[in-house]
Amino acid sequence: MNLTAIAAIYRFEMARTFRTLAQSVISPVLSTSLYFIVFGTAIGSRIDQVEGVSYGAFIVPGLIMLTVLTQSISNASFGIYFPKFIGTVYELLSAPASFLEITAGYVLAAATKALAIGLIILGTAFFFVDLQILHPVWMLTFLVLTCLSFSLFGFIIGIWAQNFEQLQLVPLLAVTPLVFLGGAFYSISMLPAGWQAVSLFNPVVYLVSGFRWSFFGTADVALGWSILAICGFLVACLAAIGWIFRTGWRLRP
């Protein structure tokens, strides 16, 4: 195991984060704060409690998930796409490091950054709403698993993408709608029965539901399903990366 290589990639990626601190951290915090102001305070004050929780607090787990998902994907996809784009990927491919080690370096860095932003947003939320976390260990577990699995997903997108447009395509056209329709701002029990059934095909519903349960103890779907969904997604991403690295798809002609 070339642990030094993992550490080298990790440090290099984290250095990029610190180099672009405003864009990396301040921007997601700012946009989430705007959500709190618009949805939580302005609109939320006209909405009754949802499942016994004030609307402002209710949307906190969903907002964190929204940011963590998009951050994980964009960090990891950019992390591996950029070396492809500027050609420095030659060094990764010629290094005595396995694909597993290369992936670990990029994914851990992307996940760390997403986790940090998630926690910063959680901290910010305390300024806007009264918040309680019933199951903090589960909350962290969900957060870490989400960061890891969606960073893996982002890594796959970064390998797949052949231009900047493709790099933005999946987050824009798939992830954002799935998160918005995944109960980030509402409980799916508020939907008509038909749409509730459709929502159950949205994987993000399980993430948001499980994560929200760790805060308030209420969930749209059973906790077991949420854990199964996130672990299943993690395994699927790992399998896809294993295949990519065995075949050299889009990396090694």
């Binding site: 290589a5 080298a8 990639i9 440090r11 010629s94 290094a95 005595p96 090694r252």
Partner: protein, 311 residues
């Protein structure tokens, strides 16, 4: 002959579209030598390097570095290799020192700032270590690429077109760096399409074209073959045959009887030109015009391909 440090055995690469970029390439490279891989654009030079270094998956054959197979024992093999690519592939916003440190770590070597300082000083980069790469000149960027490749202490260094797009002065500078590396005991394989570059640096030269190695020879021997020039002599009056007094020069007479062609070696002690012109005069032949012509690299390649086919 010392044990080869790198052995390429019937290496093949056929791309999905059917293009055969490497056709059963076999090559031995000895420790401590500089081998120039000479060939025109598209000959397969970069593909060969890429297949050895792990950037391209070979479709056949095998490569060993220091006795380690580059596929089955890729960690051991690749840790011996440093690669300086043809394109200036560098992260523009990163500092010089950080990118070099990254390379060393990526190859699994523990941090050693004293060693990196030595390399950066050797390449005149030490003063620029804290500058972002985008602020460096083209020549300096190429040095950063070399520093990255050397940072993990390779025993075999690949330089892919080290002087492509580099001005003459910088090219000589680069040659000096390569010579220093050789003195430090690094085995160097460089690709080039300049005969001059191969001549200036290499111990041996391998000529590649169409994905095939046409020959591998000691530089001196190859340069003798490549140094040949032709002199065409137009005569005022056509002759029926070459006069007996001129037989020793190995002249050829064209169909019109008005043009003699003389082949000579520019690197020989005596080219025989003065002797020939005197002999022509003594034989009573009047010279109307003289033209000399050096075979272009392409012609040399064509000649080598023909020789290869006839052999």
């Amino acid at each position: 002959m010392p044990q080869p440090i790198l052995t390429v055995d019937r290496l093949e690469k056929t791309y999905e579209g059917g293009f055969r970029a490497l056709d059963a390439v076999s090559l031995d490279i000895h420790a401590g030598e500089i081998l120039a891989l000479l060939g025109p654009n598209g000959a397969g030079k970069t593909t060969l390097i890429s297949a050895i270094c792990g950037l391209v998956q070979p479709t056949g054959g095998k490569v060993t570095v220091g006795g380690h197979d580059t596929v089955t024992a890729y960690r051991a093999a690749r840790s011996l290799i440093g690669l300086v690519p043809q394109e200036i592939n560098l992260e523009p916003f990163e500092k010089v020192i950080n990118t070099v440190r990254f390379s060393r770590g990526l190859f699994g070597k523990p941090r050693d700032d004293a060693f990196l300082e030595k390399i950066l000083r050797q390449l005149s980069l030490w003063e620029k270590r804290d500058q972002p790469i985008r602020s460096l000149s083209g020549g300096m960027k190429r040095r950063v690429l070399i520093a990255k490749a050397l940072s993990h202490e390779p025993r075999v260094l690949f330089l892919d077109e080290p002087s492509a797009g580099v001005d003459v002065e910088l090219r000589r500078d680069m040659w000096e760096v390569v010579r220093q590396l050789k003195e430090d005991g690094v085995t160097i394989i460089l690709t080039t399409h300049y005969i001059e570059e191969a001549e200036a640096m290499a111990d041996r030269i391998a000529v590649i074209n169409g994905g095939r190695i046409l020959l591998v020879e000691e530089k001196a021997a190859l340069m003798r073959r490549m140094g040949r020039k032709e002199m065409r002599i137009e005569l005022r009056e056509p002759v029926a045959r070459i006069p007996a007094a001129l037989e020793d020069f190995g002249l050829t007479l064209d169909g019109t009887g008005a043009r003699l062609t003389y082949g000579y070696d520019t690197r020989a002690d005596r080219t025989g030109i003065v002797r020939l012109l005197t002999a022509l005069q003594e034989a009573g032949l009047q010279v109307a015009d003289v033209e000399t012509k050096q075979s272009s690299l392409e012609e040399i390649f064509v000649g080598l391909v023909k020789e290869g086919a006839e052999a």
